[in-house]
Each structure stands twice: as structure tokens, then as C-alpha cells.
């Protein structure tokens, strides 16, 4: 469903994403992990068509995001990490606006808006300007907007940031159901427990490259990690020694 073919992104001499090739099939929830600055957000923004790759291409359902952006984006729902939305629109107006961008209108859209707002417990806020929403409420609204046009795949950057435990649980259930019905989710997260519990496949990024990829069992096998937890694997692959040393130094200095 989502296919990356050697995508690369340079910012001047800095290489943010370095020749990543990846295939996320239909019906899979794929988790993208990596330390800060590893290139996760850049990769997701290239998939969503927000950033243009320096090299390589992104295919969504067979459509090239650069060559046929409309076709590719019609299948996609994107949820960014920072919930910037139009403050002077109400929640319902924002969802109606987003549906319009996908060419949808009328009663089915109104029903979908009511349904999504109900699910995310925003119904009583639907006629209030977004400027009065909390961070978590904005995040819920953006998640609703990514679902409004019934996409085939969802690309989501740090989905749990700002959500309360109930909202986080709801989102996990929604993603699971979405994938069980044949949808595809590609998400980045720093919460290793979430990734371990939710994801069918995992990729670990460092310095713009995928350093490990597969199911948990496959990654353990690849790196001869026995029955190590994802946290241990993550630290091993991304420089965990430094973290341990730091913890020891901090402990000793007390």
C-alpha cells in the first residue's frame, strides 16, 4: 500500500533521510521508531506529499505522490505531530472544510462529522472556535479530519502526544479496527510500549537510515537478542550504552 523507493532528503549538506526503501502492505500497522533527529518526521512528511524528496519516490496504492499527487492523496489521511489548525473556525466547520478539500459534501459528510465528533467526545464543542480547544482536543480534531474522507491508509506522526489515557486507548482501538478492515497505518512514536503493543511491524531509524525492520520476532532474530524487550533492542541499536553510562554518572553524582 505504501512503498518507498530509495527516498532521500538533503537539507544543504545534512542528510535527513538516506535512501530508504520500504514497503508497508495493506492491513498492517507499521511503527517507525528512532531517536530525536533520526529522520522519522521528514520521512512521514515526504510520504504525505508535504516535503519533496531530493531523490527517490513514494507510491501510495500505486500512485506516485509527486507524479500523481491527487490520486495518491485521495487515499491518504495525515496526522501531524503539531496540531496547527485554523483558530477562527469551529470544530464542525474545520471538518466540513477538510471534507471539501477531498471533494466531499452534503448529508453523508454531515453524518460523518457528527459521528467522528461523537466518537472523540467533541460534540458539545462543535460550534466553538478552535482557539478555545486544548492541545488534546485539537489533536482529536485533527485525527477526525484525517478520517473524514475514509482514507485507505493513515500516516501519523506521534499520535499519542497530548491525548489523555482515554483518548489514547480510543485511538489504539480505532487504528486496530482500521487495520483489521484492510487499512494501513504508518506511525512514528517514541512510546516503545505503544509500539510493542500495537504494531505488526517495526522499523528503527537512525541517522536517516532504517537500521532494523520487521516484526518483533524478526528483529530479535536478526540481532540475536533472545527475548529482549523493544526498549532493550532500541537502546542497543541506537546507542543505549551512552544512556546507561549517563544514568550511572547521574546516580554517582547524587
Amino acid at each position: 500500500m505504501i512503498r518507498l523507493e530509495g527516498i532521500t532528503k538533503h537539507y544543504g549538506s545534512f542528510v535527513a533521510v538516506d535512501h530508504i526503501t520500504l514497503h508497508v502492505p495493506r492491513g498492517v500497522l507499521y511503527g517507525c521508531l528512532g531517536p530525536n533527529g533520526a529522520g522519522k518526521t521528514t520521512m512521514l512528511r515526504m510520504i504525505a506529499g508535504i516535503l519533496r524528496p531530493t531523490d527517490g519516490r513514494v507510491l501510495i496504492g500505486g500512485d506516485d505522490v509527486q507524479a500523481n499527487p491527487i490520486g495518491a492523496k485521495m487515499r491518504l489521511g495525515f496526522i501531524p505531530d503539531r496540531p496547527f489548525v485554523y483558530d477562527k473556525l469551529t470544530g464542525a466547520e474545520f471538518l466540513r472544510f477538510v471534507a471539501g478539500l477531498y471533494g466531499q459534501e452534503g448529508d453523508p459528510v454531515e453524518r460523518r462529522i457528527a459521528e467522528l465528533l461523537e466518537v472523540f467526545e467533541l460534540s458539545s464543542w462543535k460550534d466553538e472556535l478552535i482557539e478555545a480547544y486544548s492541545h488534546g482536543m485539537r489533536q482529536k480534531l485533527i485525527i477526525s479530519s484525517a478520517l473524514i474522507h475514509r482514507p485507505e491508509c493513515i500516516v501519523v506522526d506521534e499520535p499519542m502526544v497530548g491525548l489523555d489515557p482515554k483518548g489514547a486507548r480510543l485511538l489504539k482501538d480505532i487504528f486496530r479496527q482500521f487495520v483489521d478492515r484492510g487499512g494501513t497505518v504508518l506511525m512514528s512514536t517514541h512510546t516503545l510500549e505503544v509500539a510493542e503493543a500495537m504494531c505488526d511491524q517495526i522499523g528503527i531509524l537512525q541517522h536517516g537510515k532504517i537500521v532494523a525492520h520487521g516484526t518483533m520476532a524478526e528483529i530479535r532474530r536478526q540481532h540475536a537478542a533472545g527475548d529482549a524487550s523493544l526498549e532493550e533492542l532500541f537502546l542497543k541499536l541506537t546507542g543505549g550504552h551512552a544512556v546507561r553510562e549517563l544514568v550511572e554518572v547521574l546516580g554517582a553524582s547524587r
Partner: protein
């Protein structure tokens, strides 16, 4: 605990400013600097030349010359002070209550006095730098004409510093009180209306008082009455009056320390009182400022009015236009500027009506035609300023939401198309209103009426395209305040290009208008000949190029945006 110094508290501000300059230099911003220097020196030379010419003429007039010069300086400083109070009220709201660094400063053990002084200094710089620069050529002209010498330079600083400080303290105190009464987000809306209403009032008052009558002493009964008016201070309690007295005393070799002492002691007393007020009210005000303004909006009005008119459009375009209109009219800082705009139109038409063209005496057909023709340039300039304020920031304002637009199947052409027409249609209405009404007031011929209306329509389409195109070429995605976007380098380049276009079109059409005037003078029938057609075509091509090219370039630039 030792308190950090003021310089330390302000460190992020000046370091950011320095870094910006370094980045600009590193990215080859030399060209920008040259253009800015050229425009700046052009403005200063022009303003200095005008003041120099007027002051030299005044100085040669015995008895009344110097008092008139002092009166003029008093009026100029008073106008600057009124502008500064309004500007400080708005700037203080942002720097004391809404700035992003406040969470950090308030949560650290920085004492209240340092916070007050640091933020007061920040407000002073942000709100006064432009007025300070505008004062330079005026004061330089006074210094040169009245032989102030090199000592006049530090003296200017000595007088201007307390004069700029006073409105900053007053503006800050007003904001502090208002924020304690209303939540800050509401206060911002309220202040925008107060500021613009006051600004509009000042413009109207200034226009209706007609200060140009002061320059016509024949209107007074006798010289003594005229002198009496000149020698009476506007108000002895106004700091602007003290400053003008301080300046003229120095320049007239009649130095009196009293106005200087008044300025400095008052400024010191005001800062002290401001600090006491800050100590009493800031904590509660800051807490209130965190409260949101709860507002429920149904949004049915726009859907049932503009939405119905837009029904023939595809849904994406319709929703985009509706969204832009809603955002504009729900943002008080945006729509309230329409009040100022309305006042400007009234003043504009009032000025045309006040022209001495129809005062009984026979005024030549030539002058009426000339004024109507040159009015095209003036109206074009007004439209360019409005486009700079409303259309130029359109692309920049989408910046933070660009993730949504770029990840959706919305075609960028549709986005640009919607932005273009949302801005152009109101501008076109205003253009026709300005030109049509002016021509009716001037009683121009049908030929000139048609020529002017067609030209202003073509110019408006081009000006809007230039504004949008340059806005996309020089986007300011990080700026939160829409009012700051037109004052950027891109805004300056847009204004310069538009002025060049206006000059080009007027020069081209001049040939056609001249042919028409000759035909009328020679009592020949006015026919549109091939010579006139040629120049109409030149003007039309200029407008078409200025419409199509910026939109295409803007679109290409938008396609290359990386977020």
C-alpha cells in the same frame, strides 16, 4: 540570590536579532540590504529636502518664522506621540502578556522590577523604532537650517529618549489595566477597535480642521491675532510641547533647561508609577491573560449568504473561499481595518472635493482632465497599500496549516485562484468606487470616465496578482501577526514594483490622453486613432504581464515549498 542583569534577561532578544542579521548575510542578503538602503535613503532625502525647503523659507520670515517652525515641530511631535500611545498599547499586550518567552521568564526567579524594565524596553524598541527613524530627517532639517551644530545630535537623543519613553509607559499601564478587566484575547479584539477607531478619528479630525489654513494668514483679522495664535502653546502640559520648546530654545541660542528637566523628571516619575502599577496588577493580569475567550459560532450566516452565491463552484474552491472569508471576519485585528479604510476613502473624496477647481472661477478643462488622469496613479497607490495589507500576507497566513493543504488533494492552483479572487473582488469594488466617485466630483468627460474606469480595473487585477505573487515569493510563515508581514522586504519589493507599473501605465496612457486633449482644444471631433490604440495596447500588455507573470511565478514557488 543575585538577580540576573537586565542585559541577561534581554539576551535571547538581542541574540536572535544578531543571528538574523548573520543569517541574512550568510544567505547573500547583500542585494536586500542595498535595496533597503536605497529606499531608506530615498525616503530620508525626500523628507529632509521637503522640511529643509519649508524651514529655510520660514526662517527668512521675520517675527513669525521661528514661532511657526516651533508650532510645526510641536504638531509633528504631538502626532507622533498620539500614534505611539496607540502603538504601545498593542505592543505592550503582546510583549507583557502574549509573548512566547513569558512562560519561561515568569517561572524563573527573575524579580518583578527586572521583568517590568526588560519588557518596557522591548515594548519601547518595538513600537518606537519606526517613529524614531521618521523623526530623523525632520530633526536633521531643523538642525541644519537653524545651525544646531554637531552638539545638536546628542541633544536630540537627550530630548527624544524621555519623549518616546512617556507614551511607552502610558500605553503599557493602559494595557495592564485593560487586561485586568478583560481576558487578553478579548482585550486584543477590543484594543484593535479602540486603536483603529481613535486613528480614524484623528485622521478625520485632522482633515476637517484643515491645518493648511494656518498657512494662509490672510484668513486672520490682523497680524496680532495670527501671532497670538502662534505664540499660544497648544497645551503647556503636553510633553511634545516641552520637547519642541527644548529643541527651539537650543536652536535659537536661547537655551532654557526647564523643558528638559520637565521631560526627564516626568519620564522618571512615570516609570516609577508604571513599576508600582505593574507590581500590583501584573500577576493577576498575567493569569487572566491565559484565559481563552469562549465563543460559540454557528456559522450559518456565511453558509446561507456567500455559500449560496458560491454554489456553482466546485466544492473544494467553495469551501476554501468560505474559509478565507470566515477567518477574515472573525479576526477583529483584520476586519476592523475596514473602518480605517472607510475613513481613508471619505478623506480621499473630501480632498478631491476641496480642490480649488470648482470655486466659481472658470477652471480649464485641461486641469480637470489632468487631475482626473493623475488621480489614477494616486488611486493605484492607495489600492497597492491596501493589497499589501490584505492580499500580500494571504500565502504567509496559510503557513502553519500548510501541512493540511499539502497533504490533501487540493490543487495549488485552486488555492491560488481562491486567494486571488477573495482579495481582488473587494479591491475592484473599492477601485471603481474611488475612481468613479472622484470623476463624478470632478465632472469629467465621458471619454475620461471610461478611460479611467477601464484602466483602474486592469490595474487592480495586476496589483492583486503582484501582491499575491510577491507574497508567495517572500513568505513569512513564522510571523503570527498579519500586520507585520507587509513591512517585510517582500512587501517593500512589491510596493516598488507596483509603483513602477503605475508609472509605466500612466506614461503610456499620457500619450493617448494628450492626443485627446489636443483634439478637444483644436475643436476637432475626438476619434480613437491608431496612435491612441497603440498606447492603449501598451498599457493593456503591461497590465496583463503584471497579472499573469506574478501568479505563475508565485505558483511555481508554492510548489517548491518545503515544510
Amino acid at each position: 540570590m543575585t538577580q540576573p542583569s537586565l542585559v541577561h534577561v534581554l539576551q535571547p532578544k538581542w541574540r536572535t536579532a544578531l543571528q538574523r542579521v548573520r543569517q541574512e548575510r550568510a544567505s547573500g542578503g547583500g542585494g536586500k540590504l542595498v535595496i533597503l538602503a536605497l529606499v531608506g535613503s530615498g525616503f530620508w532625502t525626500g523628507a529632509f529636502g521637503l522640511c529643509f525647503y519649508v524651514l529655510r523659507a520660514l526662517r527668512s520670515v521675520e517675527e513669525v518664522g521661528v514661532p511657526i517652525a516651533e508650532k510645526m515641530l510641536g504638531i509633528i511631535l504631538l502626532s507622533f506621540m498620539s500614534i505611539l500611545i496607540l502603538s504601545n498599547v498593542i505592543t505592550a499586550l503582546s510583549s507583557f502578556f502574549l509573548a512566547k518567552d513569558l512562560d519561561l521568564l515568569v517561572s524563573t526567579p527573575v524579580d518583578w522590577l527586572r521583568l517590568y524594565l526588560a519588557k518596557l524596553g522591548e515594548t519601547l524598541v518595538h513600537s518606537s523604532w519606526m517613529v524614531g527613524l521618521a523623526c530623523l530627517p525632520v530633526l536633521a532639517a531643523y538642525g541644519v537650517v537653524f545651525h544646531g551644530g554637531l552638539l545638536f545630535i546628542p541633544y536630540v537623543l537627550l530630548v527624544m529618549l524621555p519623549l518616546l519613553l512617556l507614551p511607552t509607559v502610558v500605553g503599557t499601564a493602559l494595557t495592564l489595566i485593560l487586561v485586568n478587566v478583560f481576558p487578553a484575547r478579548r482585550t486584543r479584539d477590543l484594543l484593535s477597535i479602540i486603536a483603529l477607531g481613535a486613528g480614524a478619528g484623528v485622521i478625520l479630525l485632522f482633515r476637517l480642521i484643515r491645518p493648511e489654513q494656518l498657512a494662509r494668514p490672510e484668513g486672520f483679522q490682523n497680524l496680532v491675532a495670527f501671532l497670538a495664535v502662534l505664540r499660544t502653546p497648544t497645551s503647556p502640559l503636553l510633553p511634545s510641547e516641552w520637547a519642541s520648546r527644548a529643541f527651539m530654545g537650543f536652536l535659537d541660542r536661547d537655551f532654557d533647561p526647564q523643558p528638559l528637566v520637565l521631560l526627564w523628571t516626568t519620564a522618571a516619575a512615570f516609570v516609577t508609577l508604571g513599576a508600582i502599577l505593574h507590581r500590583q496588577l501584573y500577576a493577576t493580569g498575567f493569569t487572566k491573560a491565559q484565559e481563552g475567550a469562549e465563543r460559540f459560532v454557528r456559522g450559518i450566516f456565511w453558509r446561507n449568504t456567500v455559500g449560496v452565491v458560491l454554489l456553482p463552484l466546485p466544492v473544494a474552491k467553495r469551501e476554501f473561499v468560505l474559509k478565507d472569508i470566515k477567518l477574515f471576519f472573525r479576526d477583529t485585528t483584520q476586519w476592523s481595518q475596514l473602518i480605517l479604510l472607510a475613513v481613508l476613502v471619505v478623506v480621499y473624496l473630501f480632498n478631491i472635493k476641496a480642490l480649488p477647481l470648482h470655486r466659481g472661477e472658470q477652471v480649464g478643462f485641461f486641469y480637470v482632465t489632468l487631475v482626473s488622469f493623475l488621480n489614477l496613479g494616486l488611486a493605484g497607490f492607495v489600492l497597492a497599500s491596501i493589497a499589501a495589507r490584505f492580499i500580500f500576507p494571504a500565502v504567509s497566513l496559510e503557513g502553519r496549516q500548510m501541512w493540511l493543504l499539502r497533504s490533501s488533494p487540493l490543487d495549488l492552483k485552486t488555492l491560488l485562484w481562491s486567494k486571488y479572487w477573495v482579495g481582488t473582488i473587494p479591491l475592484l469594488v473599492l477601485a471603481l468606487l474611488l475612481t468613479g466617485l472622484t470623476n463624478i466630483l470632478l465632472q469629467v468627460s465621458a471619454f475620461m470616465m471610461i478611460l479611467c474606469l477601464v484602466t483602474i480595473c486592469a490595474l487592480t487585477l495586476a496589483i492583486a496578482a503582484l501582491a499575491l505573487g510577491y507574497g508567495a515569493l517572500y513568505p513569512q510563515f513564522e510571523t503570527e501577526n498579519a500586520a507585520q508581514i507587509p513591512t517585510s522586504f517582500g512587501g517593500l519589493v512589491f510596493m516598488m514594483t507596483t509603483i513602477a507599473l503605475l508609472a509605466g501605465v500612466i506614461i503610456a496612457l499620457y500619450q493617448a490622453v494628450y492626443t485627446y486633449l489636443r483634439a478637444v482644444y483644436d475643436h476637432e471631433p475626438v476619434t480613437v486613432n491608431s496612435w491612441m490604440l497603440l498606447w492603449f495596447a501598451v498599457a493593456a500588455v503591461a497590465c496583463i504581464v503584471a497579472t499573469v507573470v506574478p501568479l505563475r511565478v508565485g505558483l511555481r514557488k508554492m510548489e517548491s515549498f518545503d515544510f
